[in-house]
Amino acid sequence: MSTANTATFTDYDRTRTSFFSALYRFQRVLPGLLAMLMISIFSNNLAGAPNPFTLENLFHWLDGVIGPVNHQPVFGILNSNFVWNPLLLGLIIGNAFGVPDTWKPGLSYIHMLMPLGIIMLAPHFMLWHATKLGVVPIAIIVASLFFTATATLLIAKWFKLDDRHGSIIAGGLSTGDPHVCAILMPLIKAKGGQVVNALVCVLVFGLVAMMALPYLGAWLDIPQSCFGLASVVGVGNGHQALSAAFARGYEAGRYALWYDIGRHVIMPAGFIYVFIVMFIRKLRYRNDPSVKATGHLNSFPLWLGVFIFFWILTTLHVFKEPAHHAIFNMVKWDFSLAASALGLSLSFKDIARPGLKGLAVTFVAGSLRIAVLLAALVVCIKTGLLPVAP
């Protein structure tokens, strides 16, 4: 060990008085934390912060001016939400004005906010809510999730895409929720640029799938009640899926709302699966320099275990609805702060650096999923496995 390192360790040992000594001093983190707070309260309508001048309100107003597309808000289709809004505002501010070095210690709190936010998400996924959908739709939703995640990871390997980038795309695409790209970030140890690039890939594929799927559904003569399931499983985020379904017909849209619960409640299974696959792969090929996903993680993260524990409690109905809503408001605060830190720490170059390979992987994997999904739906309809509403 060098002399400089020895000195640093000695100083640290001498000055530390508690567990919290590893943290920066409050004065050092204050500028960064204030920047995150200001971006958050001017991005989203957060509980307890009655600020009318938010990006969320601006988008709602513009949605009102533009009018709905297939009963959906345009900015909803473009994935405006409590993660995307502060990320966008942070990106614009960081790239336009730069980020002073004094902000950086505060911005590093993203590493604590992300796991905390994910743990608090647990009461959001009540598995019991999906049981009313019936066995076959649930089986299709679950099979699609694991098939898409596995196929995307394999296609990413085939395209020689960075495994961290491929894992993030696999999570976002398989769950049909671009939020998962951000959720997987601390597990996969992906770079911020890879996460936002993957998020854009899933979003762009979702837009194309949203426009193509109604035509494919009509061509294959899939009944509207079953098309609701196809759009929920085959497109990207929630509003894109609903827009695709309503483009096919009003009944398809109503059924998409019904089936969306199934996709939503099993979302954690998607990101836990991608993480476990990549973690086992890292442990098996520890010396392979191309294996980068999950970084230096040597054991199963404790906080993910805490999340799974709370998810089990959720399925046992431990969290009542008012508690669920209160906790979700805290999730919004948490993810808003984390996303503003992420936006401030990224340059547009970081996002563009992974290139278009991720987009190619997303399109190949997404198209494959749609093909297999529609084939499975046709078989289930013809054999009478999937009930068709009269």
């Binding site: 204050l30 204030l34 920047a35 707070l37 309260i41 009655p50």
Partner: protein
Amino acid sequence: MFTLTVLTLTALLLFLATSATLYMGVFKAHREGAGWPRKLFSGLAASALSAIFWAGAYGYHYLGW
């Protein structure tokens, strides 16, 4: 009582955080070279602006004007 306490503490946090942001970000009064008159007047101005903004925001939200 619980909600009122949380709302009051949140309002205090928003007021203080906005004041600190203006004090450090706009008036740059936290820098070592700044003298006490600048620190004092910047503190007063930042607090006043923060109070005006949040009074407006809370009034808009809770009084509905």
